[in-house]
Amino acid sequence: MSTALLEARDLSIQFGGVKAVQNVSFQIDPGIVYAVIGPNGAGKTTLFNLITGIYQPTAGSILLDGQPIQGKAPEVLAQLGLARTFQNLQVCLNMSAIENVMLGAHLRLDRNLFKAALRWPALKAQDRALVGEAIELMRFVGLEPYTSARADSMSYGALKRLEIARALAMRPRVLFLDEPAAGLNPKETLEVDALIRKVADTGVTVVLVEHDMKMVMNLSDRILVLDYGRKLAEGTATEVRRNPDVIAAYLGAHA
């Protein structure tokens, strides 16, 4: 038996005639930082969407703790401890920043409609405790100036962190980060780099898609390289960097 926390076996998805992900297999051990890289259109985000239930795989399986989870809806996967952020931000701009973070705790809360409408004291106490927790999380991701801000007043970089805070409020086992550094300036990228390190240190397994090679090489315990929806290579940063197929894919040379 493998000790992998998350495992994919021959995972494939096809959109019409386009094979976006083809027979991809990998194992992710608990507590590591695992990166998925590859040229544009390699199927990285599609792979994320498959694992987190946004898409249904055409073939193959995904195992969490050895239990199949492929095809389960995102709201079910959330219960199993998978959290994610999005490449093209999915923040609720109609809510305040802290409410977005509090939303992450949704599954842990008493969500009863009638108690809520009647302002049940236990529910209010629960919310007060949650506000404290959310402020703590916002501080953790470096958003303490925004604890009373509206989400629609925040910068792009701040919203990216807000998504991470919301995901952490879920107390996830695995955190999927889809291009956490995309669109950030070099200083912000360094800060996100440090933040991901901090998250990993708390014991959360981090899986990320990222284009910033310096960040990937620096952070990741293992790296999966995709090209045209196929697995090109997998290994540690050093192994991947030396792989001739990877070099060819990135530099366009014919190996």
Partner: protein
């Protein structure tokens, strides 16, 4: 989120307490009652439209169910009026719940069309099932009575609707600032984000649709009991549109906007009545100007000007 959210409620409660002292005659008391009834319906509808981001163009249908339950159940089956109010609400809730799955697979224009159809079907049913609904002529509504005590007259219904309004505002504020309310607003803000944090989107849409349908049904019953007579016009398509207009003019996703929208649009036709024949044109013009200059609705726009959030 915080105490200031209730300030408007205190103000409204104070106004409702003092209003009977200054209203010159029963015409104005009647108007105030109609405003309060509409305000409660619009509060429920705004939870659906403004907070959860789902449209309903058929809400007058649910009002019709409540109104006709209050008329038909005591008349034909001898139910106690209070039981009839509950019965109407249950029917409206079950209908909304049963239709919620197929309806909320749709979005945008298609959802609007589906709910529009629902409202029209209910209206056709009450118009044609003349045996128990009185058909287009309508029917009398037996009064709400407990033993020999009968709830009747402007004053009694004024206080009943005033209390219902205050309670509805209070409950709406509480609901919006709760785990349930955050999930509701989140599925409006980003459905995919709410799903990945574990919000069962379909269940929340169902809950809010059922809740707003039951709000509408109960207030339909109240309206019928107050007026003492019900006609199919109460379930009319134009009534549905009027309610959505109240939501939009007052402000989508604003509790106090719901109240203001209902108050203004209930009063406006009366205020314009002196323009004889031109009132519809003026009514339309005012709505258009509102949409052009206050697209977010009165209360959110004013709140933004004053630098506050609603």
């Amino acid at each position: 989120m915080n105490k200031p959210a209730y300030r408007g409620l205190y103000l409204i409660a104070a106004v409702l307490l003092l209003l009977p002292l200054v209203l010159p005659n029963s015409f104005y008391v009647d108007l105030a009652i109609r405003m309060a009834i509409n305000a409660v319906i619009v509060l429920g509808l705004n939870l659906l439209i403004g907070f959860a981001g789902q449209i309903s163009l058929g809400h007058a249908g649910f009002i019709g169910i409540g109104a006709y339950a209050s008329a038909a159940l005591p008349t034909h089956f001898g139910w106690h009026p209070l039981l009839a109010v509950a019965g109407g609400a249950v029917v409206a809730g079950i209908l909304a719940g049963a239709l919620s799955r197929p309806i909320f697979r749709l979005k945008g224009h298609y959802l609007a069309m589906a709910t529009l159809g629902l409202g029209i079907i209910i209206n056709i049913v009450v118009r044609n099932e003349a045996v128990w609904s009185g058909g287009p002529d309508g029917m009398a509504v037996p009064p709400m009575a407990f033993g020999s005590f009968e709830v009747s007259g402007d004053k009694a219904w004024y206080w009943i609707t005033a209390i219902l309004l205050c309670f509805s505002i209070w409950a709406s504020i509480n609901l919006i600032d709760s785990p349930f309310g955050r999930a509701l607003r989140a599925l409006n803000g980003s459905e995919v984000a709410s799903r990945v944090v574990g919000v069962q989107v379909a269940r929340y849409k169902l809950s809010v649709f059922v809740m707003s349908a039951m709000f509408a049904s109960v207030m339909g019953s109240v309206m019928a009991l107050y007026v003492g007579f019900v006609t199919p016009n109460i379930a009319d398509f134009f009534h549905s549109i009027e309610l959505v207009t109240m939501v939009v003019i007052g402000g989508m996703g604003s509790v106090y906007g719901s109240v203001l929208g209902a108050v203004l649009l209930t009063a406006l036709p009366q205020a314009l009545a002196s323009f004889e024949g031109w009132e519809t044109v003026l009514f339309g013009a005012i709505l258009m100007l509102c949409m052009i200059f206050l697209p977010r609705g009165l209360v959110p726009t004013l709140a933004a000007r004053l630098g506050k959030t609603t």
